[in-house]
Symmetry: C2
Subunit: 442 residues, 2 copies
Amino acid sequence: MSLTIKLTISPRIINLNCHERNRTKFPAIRPKPIYHSNALNPILYSNKRPGMFQASVSGTVIKSSLIEPDGGVLVDVIVPESERGSKTLEAESLPKARLAKIDVEWVHVISEGWASPLKGFMRENEYLQSLHFNSLRMENGTVVNMSLPIVLAIDDETKESIGSSKDVGLVGPEGDLLAILRSIEIYKHNKEERIARTWGTTAPGLPYVEEFIAPAGNWLLGGDLEVLKPIKYNDGLDHYRLSPKQLRKEFDRRQADAVFAFQLRNPVHNGHALLMNDTRRRLLEMGYKNPILLLHPLGGFTKADDVPLDVRMEQHSKVLEDGVLDPETTIVAVFPSPMHYAGPTEVQWHAKARVNAGANFYIVGRDPAGMGHPTEKRDLYDPDHGKKVLSMAPGLEKLNILPFRVAAYDTVAKKMAFFDPSRSKEFLFISGTKVGTIYLIS
Amino acid sequence: MSLTIKLTISPRIINLNCHERNRTKFPAIRPKPIYHSNALNPILYSNKRPGMFQASVSGTVIKSSLIEPDGGVLVDVIVPESERGSKTLEAESLPKARLAKIDVEWVHVISEGWASPLKGFMRENEYLQSLHFNSLRMENGTVVNMSLPIVLAIDDETKESIGSSKDVGLVGPEGDLLAILRSIEIYKHNKEERIARTWGTTAPGLPYVEEFIAPAGNWLLGGDLEVLKPIKYNDGLDHYRLSPKQLRKEFDRRQADAVFAFQLRNPVHNGHALLMNDTRRRLLEMGYKNPILLLHPLGGFTKADDVPLDVRMEQHSKVLEDGVLDPETTIVAVFPSPMHYAGPTEVQWHAKARVNAGANFYIVGRDPAGMGHPTEKRDLYDPDHGKKVLSMAPGLEKLNILPFRVAAYDTVAKKMAFFDPSRSKEFLFISGTKVGTIYLIS
């Protein structure tokens, strides 16, 4: 049984603008979602540890066939099962820092190597480079992209309780020991400067700032992570949370000769689908034999008026089931990072993390990671700055950037098509015009 | 006749903190300054054009013996005298943009190559890279430092009057045609974002912002400069305004094998002098035979409570005359850039510009280009961030960074000395203690 909801698409969405600029609330009434296991590759989506994959070659280092992870080696700081007991005992003996939910999302991100070569929460040198240069210089002189500060804030009390200890145990919101932070460094959390340099504004109302930075402590705690066991959410979606290592393995198993990643945090609409299918067609024309699409919704914190993850995963699953995207050449997985809504700064993070997962092509939209200005009636970022900044970003030279092409409803062909300026009158950009179908719930 | 004024030095200044954190006004009563011509090298300080130097080797390209300018070639966009007439005629026929005084300072800076490889006011690609990465990637893949946006703001009316013209004539505040801007590009001037990313705050009261950005237009005009004649100020100090080309020639003429630059915007005090002399001693110990000090006061816009340039030049001149610094191994010249007071972001500019002038060592102070927070009772920047950020800055790897050592009054030796923590009680950091002599007026 399949229920298709026809939605009215605003012209901004026709313009392939992913974010809900008008902050229209998602319809409040929705059926309970049903979670699909991904039909593409049951082995891959099992909850077994990466090393247990049938497809794995025991003892070999997992590396990209297509693109190297930043720093050359994919970071994996999850403690091997054999050492878990002793490390947990040690962690119990250490001074503790309590993690908020958002911190756990970052522990997850770091632990699987999305932020490679970052091995833990940033120390001050990394933080400053991130804030000022959006990149890190490695010891060998190479530069990797690192546009968002990935930091752990602590309050005065925690700082005092840590004292001169070199290592700290990290405790989850439920009180469970999650990780050890090694060779720590504590430095000042200048919130104003962090916000100004990350968002390019200090206006009140930035979702990540209001939720997580404003109430956070005045110190940052950096160090190398050892995560006691893989982070799980037990929300029925963990099987979608494939690590970079798992994704790279799957790309290799499918013998992909190009991987193009598509970041989204809202339902796939027909304009997206057109774009993704067209990208594949163009890659084939370029001579690639087997381009694979990584359809990669963001699964961490999003603002209240974005569509919830469970609904999105239902929708993405349906898109594949209905053949709008080809299941043979598409992998749907969840990117565990939280959203900053930091526009040109954040789009670099979105692209860099996908490099670490093995993608060598990245589709960048209009105004990626953008939103409306929190206090003024305008976009917070120039909608073109995202793709411009991304195309010039240090450390991302090896990534192929594919800018969005503008799609609109072609009244002659009676379908979504890429806008052709020579017959502009035949395309519909008018607000309220029905141009798309969003597959919502099966 | 020499008048020496003993000044009470606050402990912050003892700590070699260049800026007037307490915003103490400079004594209002001061004798009329007398301008010295620099005694070191009368030929060098003549007002003749660079090509007229006796020491010049006619027809050879001026290049650093010690360090390459950024981009490999020192930018010089001053129109040769032979073409001045025709270019001026052409400029008169073009749409015009009016320059503010601050814009003329930047025209000066660009025209002589301090900002090499920048050949004009930034186009959007350069602006975005500067804002986000503090650096520019060149066509050959190399990276140069570029931390401050060097931009020209215009208002709606000017934008409209330019229309679709490719070139624009730039008119000085007095109405005189100064330059042509070629192959222009007009893009949005998002002041909030520019301020936030440059200063790390949007708090009201930043001197450069209040004076120049707040009242500026909403568009930025980028393009390649052709400057119709060298910028002069006719304030009796033009002979101090040596171009990077002139400085490089002079370093070569003196057969310098190391050039260490010292940026300042206040009088030299004994702590500075100790530091500069000690740096020379250390360079000699390192094996250099002839290290030359570039004592390089900033000559462009400074905030109202900084010491005026004419007084500072008097003072610096006196310091040399009295042998506090050795005239044989010191060059005093004016750096024509305006101040942003943008701390870690700006210190990169200060260092990069000196690389272009041929310096291969740069002395960085505590809290360089810093100031008090405009609305809060704290430093705007962490005083250690300047040297940390500078030491990691992209494009400045080739520059040797010399961090300040902390000096204080040694009560045993009865003079300024580098602070020795093992006998900390013998050093005076107490406010109001007389520890230094500032040579002010001769």
